[in-house]
Amino acid sequence: MIDQPRSRSRAADLDQAPILLELSHLSTDFLIKDSPPAHALVDVSFTLREGEALGLVGESGCGKTTMMLSLMRLLPANGRIIEGTAQFGGVDLFSLSEKEIAGVRWKEISMIFQGAMNALNPVRTISDQIAEAFILQVGRVDKKVVDDRVISLLDLVGISADRRKQYPHQYSGGMRQRAMIAMALACNPQIVIADEPTTALDVMIQAQILELLEKLRDKLGLSIIFVTHDLGVVAEMCDTVLVMYGGVTAEYASVDAIYNEPRHPYTRELLRAFPDLNRPTAKLASIPGFPPRLNALPPGCRFAPRCPIAQDICHIEQPELRWIDAGHAASCHFLDLLPDGPAAAASPNTPSQNLLNSES
């Protein structure tokens, strides 16, 4: 059932896969009455290839949700995309009219929402809710066609057809999340954005859902954007990772580089704060302080107030995103500085050791 060594041969082919979505220099503001706007996102870029799984990682308030809402053009009334392009299928999503973007939403890019418990309509059957999404794509068609599609979608996510006429309250948490996934797939989208898809679920149900998403990705050639704060889920599921902090890109790299050669101090600290079953005796580190408020950003690097290696310049100047090698970028004035002192500066390609085990 499980493809035994879960290393990904796919990663090698990924570079060859065509680019599906290219987000460049996205900046989003929130207008606030009687005060300067909050810069929720500043100059964020990424590319998403066909079949790629991208992990969008960060703490609450880092801009993950704003990024997705910007992409789907679903920002609240006071949100403004002030800069950037999102190239998808030869068009810029940000310059489409409201009507045109409605043709992309759900049909090309769909979403799995956080909290399967609350995202479904409690007074309509599961079948009706999935059908609604499907009808959105094909228009009014024969009832039988719709029903067949609902059955095949439910089959895809592992729900038996005879439960389609039931209501959400008759489903368990895991089944509701499966139904949500079926809904997201109703129009054969190319990209699925999964917003904390497993956060409210028990570990075993979480494993079932992740297994399902992995299977669907292979079977349907989906590209998935995982929005999560769970570094474990990202390590299991993603090819590339974008670590965000305070609305800017902290680090952007392959999943292997993020976990084994992290260069941004925030990434390193975040990894040290995440429990690892394989090292149960190691001491968990926390990052002192808390993420910045977007309307009261520190003047220099946004991470500087919490950063263990911050210098004077960090409190004055926001570092630019620098490319360390193709596919690995980070924004820090001291990219080559390790917590223990300067090291590994010679060659960025040598896997730097001690990055993860620096507490020993």
Binding site: M1, I2, Q4, R6, S7, E59, S60, S172, G173, G174, D202, V203, M204, I205, Q206, A207, Q208, E211, H229, D230, L231, G232, V233, V234, A235, E236, V255, D256, Y259, N260, E269, L270, L271, A273, F274, P275, D276, L277, N278, P280, T281, K283, L284, A285, S286, I287, P288, F290, P291, L356
Partner: protein, 337 residues
Amino acid sequence: MEEALPPIIEIKALCKYFPIKQTNLFDREEKFVHAVDDVSLVVGVAEVLALVGESGCGKSTLALTLMGLEKTTSGSLQIAGQEVTELKGSGLRAMRRNIQMIFQDPYESLNPLMSIGDIVAEPLKVHGLVKDKQARQERVLLALEDAGLKPAASFIQRLPHELSGGQRQRVVIAAALVLEPKVLLADEPVSMLDVSIRAEILNLLLELRERRGVSILMITHDLGTVGYVADRIAVMYLGRIVEIGPTLSIMQNPQHPYSKALLSVAPVPNPRQRRERIILQGETPNPIDLPPGCRFHPRCPVAQPHCSQIDPRLRLIPAGHEVACLEVKPKITSGPG
């Protein structure tokens, strides 16, 4: 941990069944949800015990009976040598001073209209303790300080919305500490917090154990974090403890197939260590009509025919902890109970 001290919590053969309303008039057979079914457990002084399991395994019901918020069906439950099941009224209230709860969600569990000082002082008022205003203030300051909110005086007047998530959880902990309990019952104490501040709260709990000698019963489904804080782990499934023992022994050498599966699916934050996951299909069956024999056998990957007939009991195994599984060889060979 000093072995000489008597345990602070001693649970013996505890059962909690919830009767179900009969919908069929002619069906006279009474049915029950077997939420906690014959659980025995001790927690030592200044010990951290983690109760691990999925929703519906009975861990929260166990916590509620400990707090005296649910009546037990049968069995005995002692806290600091006092039988909780026999207490009522003022006796029960007095006992509750010994055991205080830390709630899961600091965004929901603090009254937004009350100042931090009032929130922390409230338990003292409820229990009618420390009536002198000055002395009460001092107790509140001490609790805040012990919960790591320093300087404590600067927090007294503030409202919950002015604090970060981590600070709020510290307020919740301070409100639990102010009665100087012997046991803290922590129900998923960090699951609602950002990863970067989880360690802070977990380390705080450990610090409190050191400084105040408080015992902690932590309820969680997150196996990743228990390794850092717990001395012992008890794994629950369908109202029963299926495996219990020292943390390292369980984490590195789990023996019960359910514990093995739970550990195998806990995500590891390194893509180079992706492992084979044992994914159990389906969900925990409902605890009304329990499967015969071992409760886990319908989902068990190694179930044998006898598993559907014999209900296994906890037995000591060579690895040094206790397991309830017929397929795990016990330490001293004696016929299966």
